[in-house]
């Protein structure tokens, strides 16, 4: 049960980290003058964040298992 809450918390922090990195990139990156497919931008960006978080959860299960074997 503790592992479940640990991974859930880690996944929430990880999603936040993705959003922070996205905001940081948006701030520092010189804008690309190209507004094609503008309507799809947000949708695909969010789909990627969700997919990456799901992958992170799978990896966390592996990492927690590896960590418990190591200590």
């Amino acid at each position: 049960m503790m592992r479940f809450w640990f991974i859930t918390l880690a996944a929430i922090i990880f999603t936040g980290l993705q959003i922070v990195i996205g905001a940081w990139v948006k701030r520092i990156r010189p804008p690309v003058i190209d507004e094609r497919n503008g309507a799809e931008n947000t949708r695909d960006a969010w789909l990627w964040i969700i997919a990456t978080t799901l992958i992170f959860i799978l990896l966390s299960i592996m990492m927690v298992e590896a960590w418990s074997r190591w200590i």
């Binding site: 990156r29 010189p30 804008p31 960006a45």
Partner: protein, 288 residues
Amino acid sequence: MSARTKINAYVELTKPRIALMIVLIAAAGFALGSRDGIDFSRLFHALFGIALLSGGIAALNQYLERERDCFMPRTASRPLPSNRLTPFAASMFGVSLTVSGIIYLAFFVNPLTALLGTATAIGYVLIYTPLKTRTSLSTVIGAFPGAVPPLIGWAAATGRVPLIAWALFAIQFLWQFPHFLAIAWMYKDEYEQAEIRMLPVVERQGVATAQQSIIYALLLIPVSLLPTLLGLTGMIYFYGALALGLFYLWASVRTGFDSSRTQARRLLLASVIYLPLLFALMVFDTTR
């Protein structure tokens, strides 16, 4: 057309450079999985079967993408768009290589390796390739079959896929994101022409592309340390993987600062340096 030209076209259809990289990483997986010394006869059979399978999958991929390949200068000279082979011949060649690779692995290596090979072929040809025109998430789907080489190498050596083999799979899985997103950024206009929905095509500003490159390179650092945590490699690998991971992360972070094609090319170069060095280090510092 001369027989030599035709043979060259068939060889080209198998994407031999990619096949070589797949075979080398599978060999590293085999070596890492071989606890009691390497069985060279089995290694040969495994690599031969994997090479057949890899060539077959590449041929089938090009068969399915033959029309889209015409729209991209990077792919327009491939055997099918340049009319050096007929689609029928290419599809038959691809099916023959794929099926014979799977059967070869089942008979001369073990059923698990053949099963992983089958799943890779289905995942790459029947799921990933058709999704490329439908969603930018096809890159995520394609990363699963793309990460199989070290896993299949380990399975060939041992007939099992323990947690450590999945760790090797995870390393290769994560590595692909900055690598393929860099390629997608470099060729985004060509992909758009061919109606392939890579992330930089649907998100033209490149913010999500840079964001995802950075996050996957960041995630790769702790995952690349797993071989030491799981007792497969020693501390030389641990520090080497850490240094390589930071190098790959830095190359990815720079794509955040700079949206140029040159920067994307640098990230691509960093990715092709990272992976072979990491696996070489793993084989060099194995504790078994």
